[in-house]
Symmetry: C2
Subunit: 385 residues, 2 copies
């Protein structure tokens, strides 16, 4: 599913697998399936959180954002090729005792720029998938029940269907119809009202709602996330006002941010509070000028398979698909008209989603001609689909 | 020991760790120790034999010797920096059922050229170390007794000494004295006589015997192999005649070559026989024009700690240090005068050592003025030291 439906690896492409040492069994399976799909080469890049820990704990300051030239080259070579990223922290608390500000700064900025550019230029067909493992299962269930996590992941990704490929086709069609209906409304802004949340996010004429069913500039179709339950768009980076309280924990930088509450003024995050992990968010927001502006706003309702499992995954790929979310940092190219970024389209090396939806949060749209249109009430989608 | 004595990582250097997914615990320790030694960055490159298997089994022909540009860049960036390679196959027979000729051809030729060039130019301080694991232990002992393999490795690498650093100093001094005595003889050739062996290898005025205590062009001292028990030199690539029978199994390309017997004419291997795995050797010899000429000749006696453990390690780093060996393929820069290679100094992307010594093999030197000097009898060193 990841190779054929997700990244949709084409004959003659290189498949880049961006993975972790702890995910080796999945990486190996992805390599085999990629060759079987006709890949001309599979390049598996294994990261290791323990090595990252060593860098953050013992390395010099200059190591934290060092981007090796060969790593930049590797990212650049993904143009025209396929990429599959795997998630699922085997040791979710590994970095918890380190200086949060150093953890937040530990990002290879130049390499990430190259990577974001490729995503923005839509030259790479790619997907992200989860790899259930004992450490991740322990974080979700309090015990290392990998089998139960596999069952949940199978539900989220429709592997429990008789014909998962057909199930994905139907699912993505429905999300695309939602996106079309939202685009037809010609919205000027979205408003969120709920406990600890009173937020307004500006959209503009360049915003386009879409599902995660993407196409490269060469026309190759792919599903960028598995699971995916969202329709999303690129907001106006200059327009966000108010306060928003996260409705789910956010796994970030090897730690968990709990009770995140951020305040926006003139499109920019001006205050970050949290019961735990605020320094990690602040560290990341400090990495570049535009990290504190919004790059994505996504709508998810209660029919989400991820939401229906009733679990907190402590993993953004899953949790963001349980409910509505927004991301500070880079805009996603598919969410706007594709023309050159101006100051309304955010450019940053950061892109961090956090969850702000749920049954207690009402979401409305306000059209350019001033009509208010209910979009979500009690987690139920209010528009025709 | 690997970081401080072996590679001798310097403050401000990058440490490149060339390792395997199965060696993650060692790679992580090497990363920590490197940062503690002042490395400015640690770049861990994890290989995975399962991914290589997928390529050999399912990939196109063009994948076998594909050298990604970013991988070449990474090797090139090792100039001026430190490198630590780890060995110890966790699944020694993983490739055993594959087409041996494809296994032999599966080498990233361009990347290896860059790597060999760096070693030849002596711009990198590096070492190789072993990582005891269950699969390797099972191959050595018939059972996965990792503790016993750690004990053997500790013996081989002098970790059992009260002051291992001092023990290494004394050990390398002794090997350097052997090398000096051999150089003083001004040998024209070496001869080997034993069961299945009647071989003559030409030396020339450019040959220099040395231990594995090397210096970079910048003067940084390092021990390139741990363990190391050899003194070696670069032979005249044009002069080797006769037949030689390997005295130990050779682990190669994920398989084991048993009973290897090769015949030389005019410096070139013209025939390869083996009870098992001859096709892997033949595949490797076919990868370039000079792979079938000699690049190294090394002398090891019965005082070798590796030899004294009485074990076959199915791992060249260890087995080559149990007894005398030769290598077809590239010359090692430290074994000759360092001037530009001419046709007497072999250049190749291959470099494979195999073991030809033991108590039944007599080794003599013949000086330029025609004297025959016994070097090894019954595994005992015959020269003063």
């Amino acid at each position: 599913m990841a190779v054929r439906v997700g990244a949709n690896v084409g004959a003659g492409q290189i498949t880049f697998i961006k993975t972790q040492v702890d995910h080796a069994p999945l990486a190996r399976a992805l390599a085999r399936q990629s060759y079987a799909a006709g890949a001309r080469y599979v390049d598996v890049g294994y990261g290791d959180e323990h090595v990252r820990r060593a860098m953050i704990e013992l390395g010099p300051d200059s190591a934290l954002d060092f981007s090796p030239k060969w790593q930049n080259e590797r990212y650049a070579a993904m143009a025209g090729n396929a990429m599959i990223a795997t998630t699922g922290d085997a040791e979710p608390h590994l970095l918890a005792d380190l200086d949060g500000e150093r953890v937040g700064r530990a990002r290879p900025t130049e390499s990430l720029k190259v990577h974001r550019r490729l995503i923005a230029e839509r030259t790479m067909n790619w997907t992200g998938v989860g790899y259930p493992n004992a450490g991740w299962a322990r974080q979700v269930f309090g015990e290392p029940d990998v089998e139960r996590l596999w069952d949940a992941v199978a539900t989220c990704t429709r592997l429990d269907e008789g014909d998962p490929v057909e199930a994905w086709r139907i699912h993505m069609d429905r999300l695309d119809r939602r996106a079309a209906a939202l685009n037809a409304l010609e919205l000027d802004r979205l408003t969120y009202a709920g406990p600890g949340t009173d937020l307004e996010i500006g959209l503009h004429t360049r915003s386009r709602f879409t599902s995660a069913l993407f196409r490269t500039v060469d026309g190759r179709q792919y599903v960028a996330n598995m699971p995916t339950e969202e329709v999303f768009t690129t907001p106006d980076a200059r327009r966000a006002e108010g306060v928003v309280t996260s409705t789910k924990p956010l796994a970030l930088g090897g730690n968990v941010v709990e009770g995140l509450q951020v305040t926006f003024e003139d499109g920019r995050i001006v205050d970050v509070q949290a019961r735990q992990g605020a320094d990690i968010v602040r560290g990341e927001l400090g990495t570049d000028d535009n990290a504190s502006r919004l790059g994505e706003v996504a709508l998810v309702d209660g029919t989400s398979r991820v939401g229906q499992t009733g679990l907190v995954y402590y993993n953004t790929l899953f949790d963001e698909n349980a409910t509505c979310h927004i991301a500070y940092g880079a805009a996603v190219a598919q969410g706007h008209d594709g023309a050159e970024p101006d100051e309304s389209i955010n450019v940053s090396t950061a892109h961090t989603d956090f969850m702000i939806g749920g049954p207690e949060v009402d979401v409305d749209g306000v059209t350019r001609d001033g009509r208010t249109v209910p979009i979500l009430r009690d987690d139920v989608w209010q528009l025709p689909e």
